[in-house]
């Protein structure tokens, strides 16, 4: 889309950074899609729709009749059509023709060029024969796959047309240069031909060689016209209405543009080739005409990301983690609740089985406890669900405590303490950041830092108040947080907005932005964006017109002599690791003539592997260095020869002798360099010849032995590393142990309940009339206890994880490579043999004129370089007198 837009001369600045729907696209899509959908509905409800006659489609019937009368076969091809909407439109036509062929007993041959389309076409043809009740006449060999190659397909088609003496040919679909070959083949055998294509460049060929030609959208309408199916008819009618809307828009636009040009007296634009403006333009030196004029302001100061944004980012990540943990616990609690409820029901149903008196009372009390547990859990889960509905899927940090707090007695206090610690600990870095931020900007104490202080104090008070219910705590925490956020949003946002607006107003032609997607690409979800995306895409010519440009970026610290880092491409991402001043040099090159401006770019030729080098364009005057390492199977002392023929001709057009590199050539000269000064097309040939040493299996095992020895040598390092890992994991496990112990309390308490149940059951089980029932009940009680114990480790690694990792220094693991070494035997030198080798590479070049301009800008990185949002500016020179685009 971007390329097409460029060719139409649209300014690049008007394009989106990626191919993506704009707001105009939303509106346009609705306008274009609504009429077809409405008319499809109307047609389905029985409204009769009229479609005008299309002579080409009427001729299909005539062509079928002709083939039947002559007793010769028909041919139908979809050309180069792949699986796309057009193909499905063609299937409707094919079904009609195949149905008629089946009914009249006429043979239909369907040559195919695409193997993906082949089964679809075959199935459609078969269905048409089946629908006509003549499936016995269907010959699968008449649906033929010829070749995916365009001209091989054309020659195959010609052969079939001549051999079978086709009476009628139907050419429907996408076609390219083979269209005339196909159409002329039918013409030569005197076939009646009907063609239909949306490939506009092929329409003239079909017009001259075929009897009837269906153009563009008529191909889509043909299926509807033939099948008379309401859905298709409605769609065709709806398309017409949509086209009418487009037509009206075009008319309004035309009138508007005309009026505007008359009002501005700029109506000469249409006569670009002989207007005064054009003449003045082409009188300029070519250098001035073509080059992009890119100027930067001297210094650009990048400020670190506003603290509140960074804070928000961290908050969002933390919230997501907490929400995930909260959901997990909710799920587990729901399971416990449902288990408790079912146990309670089970127990109550069998109360009479318990002996009357203490035993039955105990059982009833246990059932009550179970009921209390399930109700309490249900209540908390409902509350959590309501909260989730209000605030997305966030979970307050304290909500973990709230959920667990009163589920069983004795746990609430511990959990509240934990939640308080976590909440306060969680907000401490924010508090510090906000304080630093406020101090830096001289914000009053009433600012966000003070608000957060107040909020944290309130949190502490709330948690200190044992009488408060979980819901009260939750509500107050949420309120105070909302107040806190609102305060610093009110303070910070206007400042940020003002800064951005000021930056936008100055010169908004060139933008640098953080690459938000990089961290995703790196696959590290929690890592902050760390690279700047340098974007030179809005560079424009002196006329303000986008050109075919190549961009090269060179980045180095200001004033240093070190080699700059080079990046290529319209957009280049770079990470500034340290604070300081950097020089960023942007070189913009014009490659093609303006009439051919497109999206051609230089592709770096620095690969050592010639198989990666492809047909490419490069600018004149570029020094091309070619070399590559020998393949792995080559050994140094074997005679090998590399001949470079750069394809350039010397005096009197004679080819220059190839430059030869052998093993005796000094290493520095093995890289051959060549400079193409003259624009033109070249074919570079590289020939590698000689002998190659082929290693046998025993040589490979010798290599394995070497690898094993290396692994053995590295064992102490590995052991050390594993030890460190183990320590780290132990530390982590300790930290998580606190939370696990809380959950352990829950498990213990549930175990106690289970124990009580078990005691009741065991005490009286001897007296129970139904032993099987007693056993069943006991089994269920035991499973409840096991379930609770299992859930004691909801958070963190399972117990013993650290030991598992920590024991990595055991000799068994560290010496894993040793058995390999023991197996490896044999002498590698004896296991090689020589084999002839010869290979030739041809690389095609198109050398173009290169016009280049560059500019330098300075980047100031203040601090905290990990995430930057920068108003980055580029200034365009004043437009050339006489207008421009």
């Amino acid at each position: 889309m971007i390329r097409a837009a460029l060719e139409l001369g649209m300014p690049l600045a008007a394009l989106p950074p990626v191919v993506h729907a704009s707001y105009a696209m939303y509106v346009l899509t609705i306008i274009l899609l609504l009429p077809p959908l409405v008319f499809i509905l109307l047609a389905k409800r029985g409204k009769e729709l009229y479609i005008r006659r299309i002579p080409g489609i009427d001729a299909i019937e005539e062509a079928i009749g002709r083939a039947t009368e002559l007793g010769r076969p028909m041919m139908f091809t979809t050309g180069l059509t792949r699986i796309n909407p057009l193909l499905y439109a063609l299937l409707g036509i094919l079904r009609y023709i195949a149905g008629k062929a089946a009914a009249y007993g006429c043979r239909l041959i369907v040559p195919q060029t695409d193997y993906e389309v082949l089964p679809i076409v075959e199935e459609t043809t078969r269905e048409a024969y089946r629908a006509a009740g003549r499936i016995d006449q269907f010959n699968p060999r008449d649906v033929r796959f010829l070749s995916t190659n365009q001209f091989a397909f054309a020659s195959g088609y010609m052969g079939i047309a001549h051999r079978e003496k086709a009476a009628s040919c139907f050419l429907f679909g996408s076609f390219a240069a083979e269209s005339l070959i196909l159409a002329e083949a039918g013409q030569q055998v005197g076939a009646m031909q009907v063609a239909g294509t949306e490939s506009l460049t092929q329409v003239p060929f079909f017009l001259t060689s075929c009897d009837y030609t269906i153009i563009g959208e008529e191909v889509y309408a043909a299926g509807a016209y033939l099948s008379r199916e309401p859905t298709q008819l409605g769609s065709v009618r709806g398309q017409d209405v949509a086209k009418l809307v487009v037509l009206v828009t075009v008319l309004i636009g035309t009138v508007w543009a005309t009026c505007l040009s008359v009002a501005k007296q700029d109506y000469r634009e249409g006569w670009e080739y002989n207007s005064e403006f054009a003449r003045a333009f082409y009188k300029q030196p070519e250098w001035d005409r073509l080059l992009a004029k890119v100027e930067f302001k001297d210094t650009h100061k990048l400020s670190p990301v506003p603290e509140h944004e960074d804070l928000e980012y961290r908050l969002a990540l933390a919230r997501k983690k907490i929400a995930k943990a909260g959901r997990n616990i909710e799920r587990k609690l729901a399971q416990i609740g449902s288990l408790a409820a079912s146990e309670e029901k089970h127990l109550r149903d069998r109360l009479e089985l318990f002996p009357a008196g203490d035993g039955r009372d105990e059982a009833r009390a246990t059932a009550d406890i179970l009921k209390g547990i399930s109700e309490r859990i249900g209540e908390e889960l409902d509350a959590a669900k309501k909260d989730n509905g209000k605030k997305g899927k966030e979970r307050e940090p304290a909500s973990l405590a709230n959920l667990l707090r009163e589920v069983l007695p004795g746990i609430g206090k511990v959990c509240r303490e934990k939640a308080r610690e976590r909440t306060v600990g969680f907000f401490t870095p924010e508090q510090q950041q906000l304080r630093a931020w406020a101090a830096k900007r001289g914000a009053p104490k009433a600012g966000p830092a003070a608000a957060l202080d107040k909020y944290l104090a309130e949190v502490k008070t709330i948690f200190g108040n044992a009488a408060a219910t979980p819901r009260q705590i939750r509500a107050r925490v949420a309120d105070s947080r909302r107040v806190c956020y609102r305060q610093y949003y009110d303070l910070v946002r206007p400042q940020v907005r003002a800064t951005r607006e000021a930056a936008d107003e100055s010169v908004p032609r060139f933008l640098l932005r953080t690459n938000e997607g990089l961290k995703k690409l790196a696959g590290k979800k929690n890592e902050k964006p760390s690279a700047l995306l340098l974007d030179g895409g809005r560079s424009a010519s002196a006329r303000g017109r986008p050109l075919a440009l190549a961009y090269e970026w060179e980045i180095k610290p200001s004033g240093s002599e070190e080699k700059p880092k080079k990046l290529r491409g319209r957009q280049a991402a770079h990470r500034f690791d340290k604070p300081g001043r950097y020089e960023v040099k942007l070189t913009v090159s014009e490659l093609l003539k303006p009439t051919l401006s497109g999206s051609q770019m230089i592709i770096g030729i620095d690969s050592n592997d010639p198989s990666l080098v492809k047909y490419d364009r490069m600018p004149a005057g570029t020094e091309l260095a070619v070399s590559w390492r020998l393949p792995k199977t080559f050994v140094k002392d074997v005679d090998m020869k590399i001949e470079y023929d750069f394809g350039e001709r010397g005096v009197a057009g004679k080819p220059l002798p190839p430059e030869v590199v052998t093993k005796d050539t000094p290493a520095a000269e093995q890289v051959r360099k060549h400079k193409y000064d003259k624009p033109g097309y070249y074919c570079m040939t590289i020939t590698v010849s000689g002998k190659v040493r082929v290693k046998s299996a025993s040589a490979r095992s010798a290599r394995a032995r070497a690898v094993a020895a290396a692994a053995e040598a590295a064992t102490p390092e590995l052991t050390k590393l594993r030890g460190r890992l183990g320590e780290t994991l132990t530390e982590l496990t300790d930290k998580l142990g606190g939370l696990n112990s809380d959950l352990g309390l829950l498990a213990r308490s549930t175990n106690e309940t289970a124990g009580r149940l078990r005691a009741v059951g065991q005490g009286d089980s001897e007296n129970w009339p139904d032993k099987a029932l007693a056993g069943n009940l006991m089994g269920r009680v035991t499973s409840l206890a096991a379930f609770a114990t299992k859930n004691a480790n909801l958070v963190g690694p399972k117990a013993g994880a650290a030991e598992t990792f920590g024991s990595g220094n055991s000799p068994k693991k560290a010496g894993a490579a040793v058995p390999v070494a023991l197996r490896a035997t044999g002498d590698p030198k004896k296991a090689e043999k020589l084999a002839p080798y010869w290979k030739r590479y041809r690389i095609y070049w198109s050398v173009l004129e290169r016009l280049t301009d560059s500019t330098t800008l300075t980047v100031q990185i203040d601090e905290a370089p990990e995430r930057l949002i920068a108003p980055w500016e580029m200034k365009l020179p004043p437009k050339a007198k006489g207008g421009g685009e």
Binding site: I40, Y273, G517
Partner: protein, 220 residues
Amino acid sequence: MRRRLIALITFLGGLYYFIEFFLPEHIIVGRADFQWNLFEREINLGIRVYGSMALGLGVINLLRIHGYAILRKRKGWPNSLALLVAMFVTMIVGFWGELGGNEAAKSCFWDFCFRGLMNNLGPAMFSLLAFYIASAAYRSFRIQNTEAGLMMIAALLVMLGQIPLGFFVWDQLPVIRNWMLSRISTPAFRGIIFGALIAGLAMAVRMWLSLDRTTSRRGA
């Protein structure tokens, strides 16, 4: 049931691309960005892999048609034999080169069969166009009615405006040619493109929502 399942899968597949194109570039979840097009590469790869399975069907089709011709000794069966032999030789050498790592064999075959044979046969076929264009032009330039006459005049002006001789005859011919191409031909082409695009869009929606019976197996 089966038809509904197909419609559901079609809808879900289309929905991904619809959302990917129409929703804002980044959907903010908290402050962590989520990009829909992250999965595009994997999905496209999957589609390609899925489509390449059909290649086997193409080979089966060739074997069925030409194997039948060879077995029944039909007219022209040596041609079918040559086709199948060429196909299998290409396949074997290809596998041998790739799996066996024999660079010499691979390179030799590549240079001989593809660069030496295929690359030349294609242009040879293409060159037929030169003769066909002449014969087609002869047929269409016969002035049989008013439309053909207009077409002849337009073609003459464009051809003369294109070549240096036309410029020597009258220096305004290139301007006329340019005017005809940019003011008559291009708008007409664009109009056709508009219509075809809208029709394609409507067709795509019909397929996406499975409104069209053409897309179902037992349609019509």
